[in-house]
Subunit: 661 residues, 2 copies
């Protein structure tokens, strides 16, 4: 059997879909998740979790108040702590991520930053003695930590952080202080209520000299009572668009004193007498950010996959209207408009995941290079991941919302759960670097590259930018390589054009900053085209390496859909290099591949193997029994606990009675 | 003073902005709201409401649980009932809408459908005797009603509703029945918990003949106890993406009997012996839908205005990074990327509101014509509003999300409130006709129009479609009329092209339905272009009628921004009619007008005169005191009621203690 999701008793609508699969969904999962081994481990973890009743949701998440969500996240994390060694290899980040997604979902928990930033920062920034003191305790979860950097008044611009750590030579202490309301640390996950320690980023000041932002270990709460220490003002920043099981917090410090040895001193040092010893390499703190961004394409791809799983399955269950058959209504998945809403996003989900694998691989490669003293790849990867993060998070958000709307009215119900996935995914446009800022960081790299070429130094270009030095050729669209050439033409033209605009403005007398700002939108356009080119190439590279023929065939269809959709989407740029006849051809190809994908659509989403537990969606259930479960779900929702609501007794009944008089 | 929003003690950042206004914001408000009279009434209502303490929010809405939101909506509506006559002219729909938006906001209340559909349907569908029986009681709010049409298994396809009303001649009763789970009425606002009556849409069946959907008055709950009657299963459908103060409901009817006279019989009749008397005009029930859609452009424009008010004000308060001045950080509103995120949407907000006025006017004109027996304009307006509803709701959603992201991290906090506005507005892509279905309804009209032209009957075209018969001319972009011509060229070309594709597929042997489906995406493209053309023209018509020079000047700038942005957005189509040099000109114009709008940006959003109460946003406060109020808001959020959460006591403390052993 090719689709492995078939079970007895399934809705026949989905059975029919799954029987059309032309490939083995387990083999596709191995391609999606990078190895047969990890795809199998995912299934095993899902299976093991399903057998531990205390790890199940106490209620559907949408029925919980915010306080209940925080409690539920905390309950789950404390229970998971018991089972961790039994369920996963704790050193395997991917297994851990999958486990947490299954059990806790997307809405957050008190250990989010503890594992993702607190411990890694201790590992990379704390000296050996400091690690001895704190790292094991943190690993054993004796203490809970977070990472406190952004402030109420400042996000991405680290140079203007207001929190200070002034060194007091007499007592050999740092005095940490947030002098204004805008200096309050704001947003760090789990800072508000859960953590008792924080790594606080503050401007290091010695004898009135500012040495810039550094990390300080700060105890926030008493380890026994959990009550905030004197000088510490800490609390939750209030409800958010999503992540409401997490207690993102604020933190004010009122001349709080910590010992000199609480400055993380792996790379820099402050001696007892106040002598500052510089770190050997200025960019050493940089790579954590690049790491997280390099994982984002994969993560966002999975968010998109989540939403599409729900929408594609539901679209095969929902019938509405008629085509040829006047007796039986048609599955809404048979409408071209529905396919056009879902399938290009499906191609993107695959593309993003494959691109994510590549950047994660590039990142590990970079770490090895840096260890060997070679930091030349840093700028390339930083630029690449900045662009990817922006483009992928933006297109993921669009795709998720279209998936939700493709579910009609029921998509709007929390029973679809798609709006939660949207809320989480769209955060990616803002966190880890605001999208416009990120696109402009990539643009800086592109402009530098063009300037290198103009200076005759094209050989110094990073591998991702080398096409910028090529000549734009006429190309045909008879092969995938033709599409790549077309995207190269477009990305190259726009990078040069935006650079020229910027340079011309400077020549005309504008300052560098003003010229940059006046070219900014054109520069972001260049960054987007460059990034989309990279995604297409990564998709192609991955497909070319697949050995299983049926899997390769359907992914080749998806790739064709992708290149045609993408090209049409930016055809304004393409028309400098192709004719309207070619454009019509691209359109026809697009519609052709929508039809080609149709029979495999449900199997392509099944291949993501996102369990019902993780989907948390009535519409997206594997078994397709949507309607009876929507009714069940609704009946159990909290508002239905009473037939007559207290508010009806209190307000509506008296109002109606009074009107009768 | 030109900007009327200036008060003592405001944040100087906003004061500086407002002092740059080149026009009078009260005069602009009169243009936005159609008359000086209504703009003034809005301010008076806002002012009056602010003086009635019991109409204030008991807490910021984001701090309320769903149950508390329902209670709060109910409390407010019952208090408002007392004050209605004092605060507004009850016959004035606009005043009523404004009042409800101020006091209750966007998240719903138990009378949403009572006023908007229950009473109007009684007015248009109930006979005089029936009106006497129910209408006055409904108006006095002795009873609360809703309108129950969509079912769990069927939304827009009315022909396949499953609920039946079988006439029993012996007892002269209708037997109402929902035979399956999918037949449950699903979604009607206030049906779940608040209403005691419903107008139920059911298939009328007499002697096994199905006469199609009809309206039946059905009592759901006992008027005294509010307990559901026998045969009635009713409840809340659970939490939604938004509208969570509303109890959208489900309804099952188990062979419930109602008297023959509960069929609404203004236009059709069922005699005691089961004789069915047809309504005189088949489309008579149609116009309610057209009315609501004709108001949607205005409504969505105001949602967009709401989000932009928040984002523009906050962008003038938030400082981040540097341009020329290395000492003082720059307002983020000075970044071109930020302007590009906000100002084209600002132009659209104005455009949508102006377009809304036109369609509302066309609707009243239509009603007069229909009264005179002339229904010829019906199809035109139906097509127009179908397209408008789709394009405007889609672009509004995009614009609101961009506004939220323009606020960076704080945009993601519920303190911005933008995500609530998004949740409400984006519902407009689905309710009142799913967007794709709507675009295809307009497409049907466009195809018919092209077929008329091909048949030599161009004179029969509706006024909105007459341009389809013109020849495509070369045009220049030196005047606004040039842009209109360009949009006509594009919309015409695409309408013809999509029609040809459809006809060709039929010629090649496909059935009408299949040919239609295979052309569907191209047809929706035609509908979008046609609609965007109409919006541009409506914007131009409105600006041309303005007398106040300063107001006209700034709106002319906004109009120029609009046409350039819109043209660039669909340049793929435009390039068939213009050169790349012209395209570069359009880009330059776009950036030029972003700069031109900049000094008036805050004053342009101030002109919407959306009160702080209605904004419900800490970021968007009129006085600009954002940061201290964010802190205040956060401190008062429910999670901060205790320093140490119960979940910390119960789960985290034991976990940490155990780890120490």
């Amino acid at each position: 059997m090719a689709n492995r999701s078939i079970r007895d008793g399934d809705n026949p609508e989905l059975l029919e879909e799954r029987r059309m699969a032309t490939f083995d969904t387990d083999k596709m999962a191995a391609v999606i998740y990078g190895s047969e081994e990890f795809a199998r481990r995912r299934r095993e973890i899902t299976d093991a979790v399903s057998k531990i009743p205390e790890l199940a949701d106490i209620k559907p998440y949408p029925f919980l108040t915010r306080e209940e969500k925080v409690t539920e996240g905390t309950r789950k994390i404390s229970i998971l702590t018991k089972y961790l060694n039994q369920l996963i290899d704790r050193d395997n980040e991917e297994e851990s991520l999958h486990l947490h997604r299954e059990v806790i979902g997307y809405e957050g928990h008190p250990f989010a930053l503890h594992d993702a930033l607190f411990i890694p920062t201790l590992q990379s920034q704390a000296s050996d003695e400091q690690q001895e003191k704190w790292l094991e305790r943190a690993r054993r979860r004796e203490i809970i930590g977070c990472y406190a950097q952004t402030e109420l008044g400042h996000g991405s611009n680290l140079r203007n952080l207001e929190t200070t750590a002034v060194y007091d030579i007499a007592s050999q202490e740092f005095v940490l202080h947030t002098p204004t309301t805008t200096a309050l640390k704001w947003w760090p996950g789990a800072l508000g209520k859960s953590c008792n320690y924080a790594l606080v980023v503050a401007e290091l000041i010695i004898k009135r000299n500012n040495y810039g932002p550094h990390f300080f270990m700060v105890q926030l709460r008493d380890e026994k009572t959990h009550i905030p220490l004197k000088g510490v003002t800490v609390g939750d920043i209030g409800p958010k668009m999503n992540f409401n099981a997490a207690d993102n917090g604020y933190l004010g410090l009122n001349n709080l004193r910590v010992p000199r040895t609480n400055l993380l001193m792996r790379h820099c040092k402050v001696e007892a007498d106040g002598t500052y010893v510089k770190p050997p390499h200025a960019k050493i703190g940089y790579s954590g950010m690049v790491k997280i961004r390099s994982q984002m394409a994969m993560e966002q791809g999975l968010f998109l996959a989540h939403a599409l799983t729900i929408a594609a399955r539901y679209s095969a269950v929902r019938r509405q209207g008629h085509l040829d058959d006047k007796q039986v209504e048609v599955k809404v998945l048979d409408y071209q408009t529905q396919q056009h809403r879902l399938f290009p996003s499906l191609a993107r989900a695959y593309a993003f995941i494959f691109t994510g694998f590549e950047t994660i691989h590039l990142y590990s490669q970079l770490l090895k290079d840096v260890d060997m003293g070679n930091t030349s790849g840093m700028a390339d990867l930083h630029a690449l991941t900045s662009g990817l993060k922006s483009v992928v998070a933006h297109e993921t958000g669009e795709g998720i919302e279209q998936a939700r709307m493709a579910c009609g009215g029921h998509g709007y119900s929390m029973a679809s759960y798609i709006s939660v996935v949207y809320g989480i995914a769209i955060g990616g446009c803002t966190y880890e670097g605001e999208n416009m800022v990120m696109l402009l960081q990539l643009a800086r790299y592109l402009v530098k590259s063009v300037e290198l070429i103009k200076a005759g130094k094209a050989k110094k270009l990073g591998p991702v930018a080398s096409y910028l030095a090529d000549k734009s050729d006429e190309t045909d669209l008879t092969s995938l390589n033709g599409y790549v050439k077309m995207f190269e033409n477009m990305a190259r033209r726009q990078a040069w054009k935006a650079t020229e605009k910027f340079l011309k403005l400077m020549e005309s007398g504008e300052s560098r900053e003003v010229a940059w700002n006046k070219s900014a939108v054109e520069l972001t356009r260049a960054s987007r085209l460059h990034t989309r080119l990279f995604i297409i190439e990564a998709f192609m590279r991955r497909v070319s390496r697949i050995e299983d023929i049926p899997v390769k065939e359907v992914l080749t269809d998806l790739l064709h859909l992708h290149v045609n959709y993408e090209l049409l989407d930016v055809a304004t740029y393409a028309l400098e290099f192709m004719s309207f006849t070619q454009l019509d051809y691209v359109r026809d190809q697009l519609y052709l591949y929508l039809e080609k994908i149709r029979p495999n659509a449900v199997s392509l989403v099944d291949s993501f193997q996102i369990s019902d537990m993780q989907l948390r969606s009535v519409l997206g259930r594997r078994d397709g029994h949507v309607y009876e479960n929507l009714f069940k779900w609704a009946k159990s929702s909290p508002l239905n606990n009473a037939d007559v609501l207290p508010s009806v007794e209190k307000y509506l009944k008296p109002m109606m009675e009074k009107a009768k008089l």
